[in-house]
């Protein structure tokens, strides 16, 4: 422990001395330096490598067009193996090398550890994959942006839909006691309470795999809920919805990505009709997304990996903001990110004041004639 700390101090000291040694001219050089940080080796490399490929493709495209405002874009690629303690070193190294903006980091923990260093140096950071809600919502990091929805975005989508589209006033929130289901249900409960437009009449967990859910269904009925929000997976969801239909209930059933699965429709059969579920936005008809995937196939002869589209979008958004801002100054870039819309694989996006991409995330789907159809 002690030696690790010593090492860290040593690295920081070395980095600092380098930072002082490198003349300011390096930063204002004739290239724009796009840092790419994330896991590129180790267990989680498969989460980080697609981001590197996305950055390479976007940068190649920009440079082929002659760069940004006459300057070529240069990539600085650093590995943080998704570990917070390594990420601080990665960030220090990138800042020392005079990075202008950073695409990364990949994991929430590593991102959180690295952000103060970038903030200090006035570097804008955009993650394609860090979903921890606090990164943007805490307001601590004005230099942080992301092109992926945060962990609670799904619950938010469901609650907004239940209250604003369905018009539910009394909502029963049920979950399967698991990390995913209960986490989602707790976010949903908080959002409903915050909205002030509806009340949570029931918040309970069911035991997964139980032979029968009659009692909880009777309870939902007794509480007079207009809508049920269920956090969990499809086996329990199909048992609950089937039992509700058996008890002749017409309560709206809203669930999550764990239920937005064709197995749910197969198992619940006709009882699935009319069920709503949130799921990731469908980008398959977006021409930018199609082009980005085609570029990957052409360059690497394989399908892109995890977070590729988010990373491609982040690279486009960052470079576009620098182009529109006409400088790499943090305040100017942040302003451009917030005001200038850009066409990306995840949609035509800009960013809100906290750093989340507007319009990126989850959509609601409804089961109609045995298929999930997006609710517009």
């Amino acid at each position: 422990m002690k030696s690790a700390l010593k090492k860290k101090l040593f690295v920081t000291a070395v980095a600092l001395s380098f930072a002082m040694a490198v003349p300011a001219a390096g930063i204002a050089g004739d290239t724009i330096k796009l840092g790419v940080a994330g896991a590129q080796s180790g267990d989680l490399a498969s989460y980080g490598l697609p981001t590197v490929k996305a950055a390479e493709l976007v940068v190649a495209e920009y440079n082929a067009k002659g760069g940004i405002n006459g300057k070529k874009v240069e990539l600085l690629i650093e590995d943080d193996v998704c570990k917070p303690e390594v990420a601080t070193n990665t960030a220090t190294k990138l800042v020392t090398d005079g990075v202008d903006v950073v695409l990364g980091h990949i994991c929430s923990g590593a991102t959180k550890a690295a952000l103060p260093i970038y903030k200090e140096a006035g570097v804008v950071v955009m993650s394609p994959s860090a979903t921890n809600p606090g990164l943007t919502q805490s307001g601590d990091y004005p230099n942080f942006f992301r092109t992926i929805a945060s962990d609670d975005a799904q619950a938010k989508t469901e609650v907004d839909f239940a209250i604003n589209v369905i018009g539910a006033k009394k909502i029963a929130v049920i979950h399967d006691k698991g990390d995913y289901g209960k986490g989602l249900a707790e976010f949903a409960k908080t959002f409903i309470e915050k909205s002030g437009k509806a009340e949570v009449v029931l918040f309970e967990g069911v035991t997964p795999g139980a032979v029968d859910y009659t009692a909880i269904v009777q309870k939902i009925k007794r509480k007079g809920a207009d809508a049920v929000i269920f956090g969990g997976y499809h086996p329990e969801a199909s048992k609950i919805i089937s039992m509700m239909k058996k008890k002749r209930m017409t309560t709206t059933f809203i669930s999550d990505d764990g239920v937005k699965d064709d197995t749910f429709i197969k198992v619940a059969g006709k009882n699935a009709e009319g069920v709503y579920a949130s799921g990731p936005q469908d980008n398959s008809t977006n021409p930018v997304s199609v082009a980005a995937i085609a570029a990957h196939k052409k360059a690497y002869n394989s399908d892109p990996g995890a977070f590729y589209e988010n990373a491609y979008s982040a690279a486009l958004a960052l470079l576009n903001a620098i182009e529109k801002a006409g400088s790499t100054d943090m305040a100017a870039v942040v302003k451009a990110l917030q005001t200038e819309k850009v066409e990306t694989p995840v949609g035509n996006i800009n960013f809100d004041a906290k750093g989340d991409a507007v319009g990126v995330g989850f959509a609601m789907y409804k089961v109609e004639n045995g298929k999930y159809v997006e609710v517009k």
Binding site: Q218, K219, K247
Partner: protein
């Protein structure tokens, strides 16, 4: 009051579901003092067999009643052959071994059968067809008791009465009681103990298969894991009622089902299992042999 009645019938159905499986546990324990952990898997295999037969028959356009009867028979025969084989392969060679050996063997069979179905069939959830039709005369009370609830309740009652009759008044029943009392003595008076034990496994497995058919039809889905969870609850119910006793298994199941239903209805479903198992502990403190179990002094 309506709510109380709804919860009461919900609990009754749930209890009857447990009872259909618990009967098999209790019969085997009553005869050879073995906790047959593979029983839940026999139930699951019954449900799978019924699923396959019912799917094939509905492709050929058989009427609903014929599908239930043929699928039920096929599942009963198929599960019985599994029950018979499991006993012969995993328990009979260990009959003279210490009690722990067949217990471990039973757990092994349970894991083996689960994985066998996982590999031979699928790990997915499969939609089980609603074999029990919606009766028109049940429609006014469908929000309290559905058609499949009614069928399960009636089946459990019939099975319990039939089994009690079988054990009390038939020749094989007499042989079973004799074997349960004293295996060596039963052999001496000319009872083929091996055959009696095989018969017990066959009957228990057939019941589990019929339970599998009805319960899967009620729930609407099956996968390879359903036997494990249902088996644990049914085993609990059998212990609660006094393992080895047929009416005890049914009573224990109903008590367990009702407790869970009321716990969910009036407290919270988060505490469903807490209430169920607290009740088990309480009953075992005051009545260690279960509600209707006979106090035994020499075993264990």
């Amino acid at each position: 009051m309506d709510y109380f009645i709804e919860l009461f019938f919900g609990g009754l159905t749930r209890g009857s579901i447990y009872a259909l499986i618990a009967l098999g546990y209790t019969m085997v324990y009553g005869i050879i003092g073995l906790i047959n952990f593979a029983h839940g898997e026999i139930y699951m295999i019954g449900a799978f067999t019924a699923f396959i037969v019912a799917t094939v028959l509905s492709i050929y356009g058989f009427p609903a009643l014929a599908i239930i009867i043929i699928a039920g028979l096929a599942a009963a025969v198929w599960s019985s052959s599994y029950g018979y084989t499991v006993e012969k392969v995993a328990y009979r060679p260990l009959r003279k071994a210490p009690r722990l050996a067949p217990l471990i063997s039973a757990i092994g069979m349970s894991i083996f059968l689960q994985n066998y179905v996982l590999l031979a069939q699928t790990s997915d959830f499969l939609p089980f067809p609603a074999l029990i039709p919606e009766f028109a005369f049940m429609e006014p009370v469908a929000h309290i008791v559905g058609s499949s609830d009614l069928v399960i309740l009636v089946t459990t009652a019939v099975v319990m009465i039939g089994l009690t009759f079988l054990i009390k008044f038939t020749k094989i029943g007499k042989a079973m009681r004799a074997t349960a009392q004293d295996k060596t003595m039963a052999v001496l008076v000319g009872i083929n103990v091996d055959r009696v034990i095989s018969a017990t496994f066959i009957i228990g497995s057939a019941l589990a298969a019929i339970g599998g058919l009805l319960i899967a039809s009620h729930i609407g889905q099956i996968n390879f894991y359903i036997g494990f969870i249902a088996g644990i609850k049914a085993f609990t119910a059998a212990v609660l009622g006094g393992i080895g006793s047929i009416p005890g298994a049914v009573l224990g199941s109903l008590v367990l089902g009702l407790t869970e239903s009321f716990a969910t209805g009036y407290v919270s479903s988060d505490y469903e299992d807490v209430f169920a198992f607290s009740l088990l502990v309480l009953i075992l403190i005051f009545k260690p042999s279960g509600l209707l179990g006979k106090a035994e002094t020499k075993k264990v």
